[in-house]
């Protein structure tokens, strides 16, 4: 058995492992994508033809991302928990490498989700994006935060016997400091106008706080 020396190699190996498992069993991925598609389609259908305010659209986009992400990443640690391989994994890689490997994998799946759902959302709601760079920046920072908080939350809920709905309940209050500024920024990116740079700083700082906290707290699990 090849032993991984540096932490970066360990992290990369875990990302690769999860990616391969994800490809082999496409169910989680497919569920996340279809969840997002269903949500966007139902929202767009029911508001069809009505003018929807940018503020509301921005909120809808983040609600869809939040719940689709919940559907997709709540089971991040379930494979290991069910097979009982987490202790073994911890023998080969240290806990921090596992956490960051998982976090990067979660971030990549969320990025894939957004790449899939954002164009559909923009087309179905006929949104003219005024500031595309701001929108992408906001989504990138938002997803980093969701990935950091979501990975730790997934580790928390793995041992729960009642799982239905638990993950979004736990994740929402933690990520609210990301959502509120992100929704505001998304609204500005749709509608145009001046934006407050401090909102971006808030999201970025909170991302860092979440990553640091996840890293510290994961050791106690």
């Amino acid at each position: 058995m090849k032993l991984f020396n540096s932490r970066f190699e360990q992290i990369a190996a875990i990302v690769r492992k999860d990616f391969l498992i994800g490809l082999r069993r496409r169910a989680t991925f497919a569920a996340m994508m279809m969840f997002a598609l269903t949500a966007v389609a139902s929202l767009s259908l029911s508001t069809g033809g009505i003018f929807v305010e940018e503020k509301f659209l921005a909120a809808l986009l983040w609600v869809v991302i939040f719940f689709a992400a919940s559907a997709g990443i709540s089971g991040t640690f379930d494979d290991e928990a069910q097979a009982g391989t987490l202790p073994t994994l911890k023998l080969y890689a240290d806990a921090q490498a596992i956490l960051f490997g998982k976090m990067i994998y979660v971030f990549l799946s969320l990025a894939a989700l957004t790449i899939f759902i954002l164009p559909i959302f923009l087309i179905l709601f006929d949104v003219a994006v005024e500031k595309i760079f701001l929108l992408l920046m906001t989504i990138l920072l938002g997803l980093i935060g969701i990935a950091a908080a979501g990975t730790l939350t997934a580790a928390l809920t793995t041992s729960a016997t009642v799982k239905g709905g638990l993950f979004p309940i736990l994740l929402f209050p933690i990520t609210l400091p990301i959502f509120l500024p992100a929704i505001r920024l998304t609204e500005i990116s749709f509608a145009g106008g001046v934006f407050d740079i401090s909102l971006i700083v808030v999201v970025a700082v909170f991302d860092l706080i979440l990553i640091t906290a996840a890293s510290i707290l994961f050791d106690y699990l």
Partner: protein, 202 residues
Amino acid sequence: MNKILILLTLAIVAAIIFFVPPIKGLGDLAKIIFFHVPTAWVSVIAFFVSAFYAAKFLRTFNFSFDKLSARAARLGFIFVLLSTISGAIFSKLTWGAYWNWDPRQTTIFVLILIYGAYLTLRAAVSDEKTRAKVSAVYSLLSVLTVPFLVFIIPRMYFSLHPSPVLNSAGRVEMDSIVLIVLIAAVVDATLIFVQLMRREIS
């Protein structure tokens, strides 16, 4: 201690009903503010107490700290519900609506969500050891939102809420008797919380 607390509480209730002058233009129900402020205070205190014991548990793995953390959260949940309802009633009297997502209403609502999530998590994990660890981690994680709720949200949204301790706007005039009664009520509520926390250990 219990008897003293009951007497103190009765005395404060009596003072609120008989000594505190009615608030101008708001009617007698507006005296619910004397209930709202202390319960809001305790619900925030309980949140930090819960997180404090969660941290202590993670450092020592002593399960009595876990019990205290859970106890504080359960009490906090009750207090935050009481505070939210009484606040909504006062809001209806002064602002004309029970709820309008004023920054402070947002803050208190997030607090309800956090308490609710924490207690749901505890209920969902059956293994005692895992439950203690997992809920302690969540408790500490949720503390991270506090600076955001306290410093960022009020900057993002305009607030109508009076300043937390004293009202400088003069909408509800505070004379010394009102202030004394209010402070006494806050102290009383804190003592009730402390007493309820202590009961659980013994």
